[in-house]
Amino acid sequence: MSIDYSLEPSIIEGKPGLASIDSTIAAPMETRPNKNFYMALSVTLTMLGIGAVCLGYSFYYGMGLWGNNNPVGWGFDIVNFVFWIGIGHAGTLISAILFLFRQKWRTGISRFAEGMTIFAVMTAGIFPLIHVGRPWLDGYLMPYPNQHGLWVNFTSPLVWDVFAVSTYFIVSAIFWYIGLIPDLATLRDRTVDKIRKTIYSIFSLGWRHSNRHWHHYEMSYIILAGFATPLVLSVHTIVSFDFAVSILPGWHSTIFPPYFVAGAVFSGFAMVQNALIFVRKIFNYEHIITLDTLEKMNKIMIATGSMVGYAYAMEFFIAWYSGSPLETFVFVNRAFGDYAWAYWIMVSCNVIFPQLFWFKKIRRSIPLMFVVGVFVNIGMWFERFVIVVTSLSRDFLPSSWAYYKPTLYDIGILIGSFGLFFSLLLIFTRTLPVVSIAEVKAVSDGAQPTHHAGGSHAE
């Protein structure tokens, strides 16, 4: 099969009319959800309930219910935090970085991925807050003048985290909302329902699709993308500083920031790909979120997965090359010690399975890419587990070594975090356009004037 690479393939397949894009994307909001939706929602809400019960017990009886023990002070709570923050990163990468690189295929998936970013950061934000043990005192994390005369330590990475995660959440939410305004206006003008119309009117702020507005709107979008790009890199960099700034072997490593960012994008893309496979099928978005798009996401997964694999290898190389016996011990212990099972789950899921995407057939096969995506998420969760737990459980003092075992409450809270994330996602698919209407219209065939230069042809 020969492909003419001089022609850009259509982003949106099948040349749907602009009005049909409207009705396709608005359909989930204008129809009543079917039984499957409620079944899915009840499953995720049950998971959320399990998490809430476990969390309630943890609040009432204290953190002794968790598996955290003396050397392993960071257990599932921090593992889950890093995991969920990482999931969020794909959304910003798709919406901001790919926007700056003018990757038009992002339009079909950006809104959904941004939504996932927000929900993932919300889920992640719970963990450091409950990890402090007395979550009703979380307000002290913010530097504000108080009657104790106390201030936070601005040189601590844990305080940087507070700033980074809250900034990330706010900026992502703004970015998401700015993208939603024109779509909400479109929905406002479509709907006949009075209540919906009021809600859409309030949130679309009175958008009129005016080109005097579009002009500034596009500029603001570029500015926000320009800020979100270094922001997303900074967030996981700062999360990695939580580890890298310490002096624990296995954490104290300058490779952590790029390695964490690559891992975050890797797991985030796997999660977005998994969720989109369902969304495009259920809501008939297969012509908007095309197989080509999924294939491109798989290509990014193989790139970031290989970066992560390189980082694993480089950690071992540096452990040997540095000649530091502590480093060497930590890494040999990772691969062959008590937690070897977790380490090898991580390596096989993150480094070996994604390499299957070198085959075009696998890259374009929905069931196979779904399975690999699930593996990637399992692997990336275990990566954080390996980093957090193996280093702590074998620290400098052999007399205090201990094996970390999560309790039922830890597992319950992990299940609850998935419940929260997917509940929010399910509600999102039914209340807001999960595909950006305006952006998809702008990249569909025949949506732009034939002469881009403008004004040069005979008028």
Binding site: W151, F154, T155, D189, G206, H209, S220, P449, H452
Partner: protein, 379 residues
């Protein structure tokens, strides 16, 4: 149609090419108060409308620079002046650890600032009572059509001329938009009393909730868990023990750690006979005795034991330690007096350890010898 005012004449176009052409033609015809509505940004329209690049970025720059200044200033004041905290002996304000927070605050402030400026200043949002809302025109340009309109307050506006211009440009559905002056206002809604009142209420609720949470709620059960614990404090009532005493008496025969019996109480002569100084007369021990003497004895007995003390008669001066009587006392006798007290001198048993008492005696002996030196001592 009496209270209806003409807002604009609108025309719908079918293709992106025709709207671009229309935008350019309307601009060329000299109209200023017109607009193009498209469901998505169409390339080339801003240029056709003669718009220059958006100045929004300058606001972002201002917000960004203020973010940098704010974050650096805030952290500098706190770490240098308000709450200086030594971290590993480093300077209070070494720049690198303050970069992450500065960066985040800069991003936060410039992103929020840009969006707020755009929505409030440029777009004059929120505004849901614009004349165009809920018109057929709006419904079309919101979905799949492209529209152009020329406002009635344009200096060159002439209803029939505008209609014919739009017609000549290929517009379909040419429509006049009217609005009711009483219900529609073109002024920004941000300064309306209703909105300002809403803001005020929001501020009051936020501030009140914060105050309540931080200053009241956290001191109420169950959030005061750590302040009130179910333990028995010293000298408090206990409902557990039958005698209601929170503090327990030790079982009979208990002795404290390091306790040594002192069996000579009331019998100084026996103490003088039986007790022997266990410490040898070395430079170190005398130095130890000097320190303790200076702390505990010298206020009354004077630096050299003369009894002419620093208290200058506010307290009865003790007799000199250099009298023949004291010089003849055995070490054990002096030990008894330090331990049990004598006349107005109280017991020092609780303040000076046994070893220190013996060391003090060594020093007193040294003083006695120094103050009453014999000729042969000079050798």
């Amino acid at each position: 149609m009496q209270n209806k005012v003409l807002y604009s004449v609108t025309g719908i176009f079918q293709t992106p090419d025709s709207i671009k052409h229309a935008a350019k033609s309307i601009a060329d015809a000299g109209y200023k108060r017109y607009d193009i509505n498209t469901p998505y940004p169409v390339h080339g329209i801003p240029k056709a409308m003669g718009m220059t690049i958006s100045k929004l970025g300058y606001f972002t720059l201002v917000f960004g620079l203020s973010g940098i200044a704010l974050a650096l200033g805030f952290t500098w004041i706190i770490t240098n002046i308000i709450y200086p905290l030594v971290q590993g002996g480093k300077p209070f304000f070494a720049l690198p650890p303050f970069i992450p927070i500065t960066f985040e605050v800069t991003v936060l402030l410039s992103s929020c600032g840009t969006v707020i400026i755009m929505l409030l200043l440029y777009f004059k949002f929120p505004n849901n009572s614009h004349p165009l809302h809920d018109t057929n025109y709006m419904k079309k340009v919101s979905s799949d059509k492209y529209g152009a309109y020329i406002m009635a307050d344009d200096p060159n506006f002439d209803q029939s001329k505008v209609r014919s211009l739009l017609e000549s440009l290929g517009a379909i559905d040419i429509e006049d938009i009217y609005y009711d002056e009483e219900t529609v206002s073109l002024r920004p809604k941000v300064f309306e009393p209703k909105f300002l009142g809403f803001l005020l209420v929001a501020i009051l609720i936020t501030a009140g909730a914060t105050y309540f949470t931080l200053n009241k709620l956290l001191f109420m059960p169950p959030f005061d868990w750590m302040s009130f614990q179910s333990r028995v404090n010293a000298q408090s009532l206990s409902t557990f023990f039958p005698d209601k005493h929170g503090m327990r008496m030790p079982p009979s025969g208990t002795i404290a750690r390091g306790f040594m019996p002192f069996p000579y109480e009331g019998d100084p002569d026996k103490a003088g006979k039986m007790l022997v100084n266990p410490m040898t007369n070395t430079q170190e021990n005398i130095e130890q005795g000097r320190k303790q003497y200076d702390i505990f004895c010298s206020p009354c007995h004077d630096w050299h034991g003369t009894g002419n003390s620093r208290l200058r008669g506010q307290f009865p001066n003790p007799p000199s330690l250099h009298s023949q009587k004291v010089r003849n006392w055995s070490d054990g006798m002096i030990y008894y007096i330090i331990t049990m007290g004598q006349n107005t001198m109280p017991s020092y048993a609780y303040q000076v350890s046994r070893e220190d008492r013996w060391a003090i005696i060594l020093y007193v002996r040294t003083l006695q010898r120094a103050m009453n030196a014999k000729p042969e001592d000079i050798k």
